[in-house]
């Protein structure tokens, strides 16, 4: 992908980085909801979490947890939010999937909450059975497939449905 990516740039310019290894990068953001906001992301460019192999998702999560403790203790904050924004409609601003850690204080008034929508019991049941069915029919992990095919060097053509879905999510401002 030749698109300019802020996080790939952070790595190139060594800007704000507090840690990096072969797979993971941790940086303190310079465009942030609050100062001290940390981002943990794979070194390799993936746009959304669905594209990231499980092993790297796990490494990101474990590192995010460690740096989360450092954020708690170094900043003396009273809470943290750990957020993955997946797709433009989720408010994703950088086309590079990341776990973000937002330090919180009791009086910070950040709108990181929602108004609960009470839903009638039967409607919940309809959604639940739909999701159970979809889960049973969910195709295997595409990131895993890709890794496998890469190893075998035998590319499997992507399904058109896949393409459409991913394209609409990858769309960036």
């Amino acid at each position: 992908m030749t698109m300019k990516c802020d996080y790939c740039e952070l790595i190139e310019e060594n800007r704000g980085l507090i840690y990096q290894d072969d797979t993971i990068v941790i940086a303190v953001k310079d465009i942030a909801v609050v100062p001290g906001q940390v981002t943990v992301f794979p070194k390799k460019h993936y746009t959304i979490i669905e594209q990231i192999p499980d092993a790297i998702v796990v490494q990101c999560a474990l590192m995010a947890n460690k740096v989360g403790v450092a954020v708690f203790e170094a900043l003396g904050c009273q809470g943290t939010n750990v957020i993955i924004k997946n797709g433009l409609s989720a408010g994703q601003t950088v086309p590079h999937c990341a776990l973000e850690i937002i330090p919180r204080a009791e009086n910070d008034n950040l709108p990181l909450r929602w108004e609960p929508q009470p839903v009638p019991e039967d409607e919940l049941e309809v959604t639940a059975s739909l999701l159970r069915e979809e889960l049973a029919n969910l195709p295997p992990d595409s990131a895993k497939e890709k890794e496998l095919t890469k190893n075998k060097e035998k590319p499997i053509p992507e399904k058109p449905a896949d393409n459409y879905l991913l394209k609409s999510i990858r769309r960036m401002p």
């Binding site: 507090i18 310079d30 499980d54 009273q78 433009l88 919180r104 009086n107 990181l112 839903v119 999510i169």
Partner: protein
């Protein structure tokens, strides 16, 4: 449920003393008994189950932000993320990824938000760690927060502080020299955020504040207190305090 008479001052005192004398294990047990989500895990409280395995349970949030809002929880009781063992945390995140896929395909969502709140200040309302997986649509106006440019000086101060603590935690000797001398009072003025499109007009930000204890009920957490910006902690924060929300 039978109505309970309010406790007398004497009874309250006795209870408080009892709570203070509990070992961490006993306290955890007590929290588990009180925890709605532990009762959902054990089946005492019904739920709309979507998926479960040995370590994790996925249910529909009955008070969702939007239709299809999922809750993923570890079956074992943990209050916040730092308490969760690595094996379980790893599992939770691979399941999160699958659930995000499920919402994109099954509900034709155009995005997903994976959201965790650690601590009352972060909006945590249950004493059981929950991973929210929320299907998103364009212009749904959920979780809209503005990102601003953090000035260089503030960022480097925060960065040095977090990096040093992180290096200690992972056993690295390397320590970064903080850019500014640490003077607790003068930090206030230095902590500022400049809006991206604004002319650089310094605005004080509510920086993270340390309070001695978080032994508050969720109801009282809505009260506002005056901000005392102090980006660099002078004392250590107790994660146990943050975790034991309902002690």
């Amino acid at each position: 449920m039978p109505e309970q008479a309010p406790l007398t001052a004497e009874q309250k005192k006795v209870l408080q003393e009892k709570l203070q004398n509990l070992s961490p294990e006993e306290l955890k047990q007590l929290q588990q008994q009180q925890c709605i989500f532990c009762q959902i895990v054990s089946g005492k409280i019904p739920s709309k189950k979507i998926y479960e395995d040995e370590q994790a349970l996925v249910i529909l949030d009955i008070n969702p932000a939007v239709k299809g809002h999922l809750l993923l929880l570890p079956k074992e009781h943990y209050a916040i993320m730092p308490q969760v063992p690595e094996a379980i945390l790893s599992h939770l995140f691979t399941v999160s990824k699958r659930l995000s896929q499920l919402l994109l395909r099954g509900l034709k969502a155009s995005g997903t938000t994976i959201f965790i709140a650690n601590g009352l200040a972060a909006g945590q309302r249950a004493q059981h760690l929950l991973v929210h997986i929320i299907p998103r649509k364009e212009a749904d106006h959920l979780l809209e927060v503005e990102e601003k440019v953090v000035d260089e000086e503030t960022r480097t101060t925060f960065q040095a502080s977090i990096e040093n603590r992180f290096n200690e935690l992972i056993g690295l000797k390397k320590q970064v020299v903080p850019v500014a001398e640490k003077k607790p009072e003068s930090k206030m003025g230095k902590s500022k955020v400049v809006a991206a499109e604004d002319s650089p007009r310094p605005k004080p930000v509510p920086a993270p504040v340390k309070v001695p204890s978080l032994s508050k009920t969720p109801a009282s957490s809505g009260k506002k207190k005056s901000a005392v910006p102090k980006p660099i902690a002078q004392e250590k924060v107790s994660l146990d305090d943050i975790a034991s929300l309902f002690k």
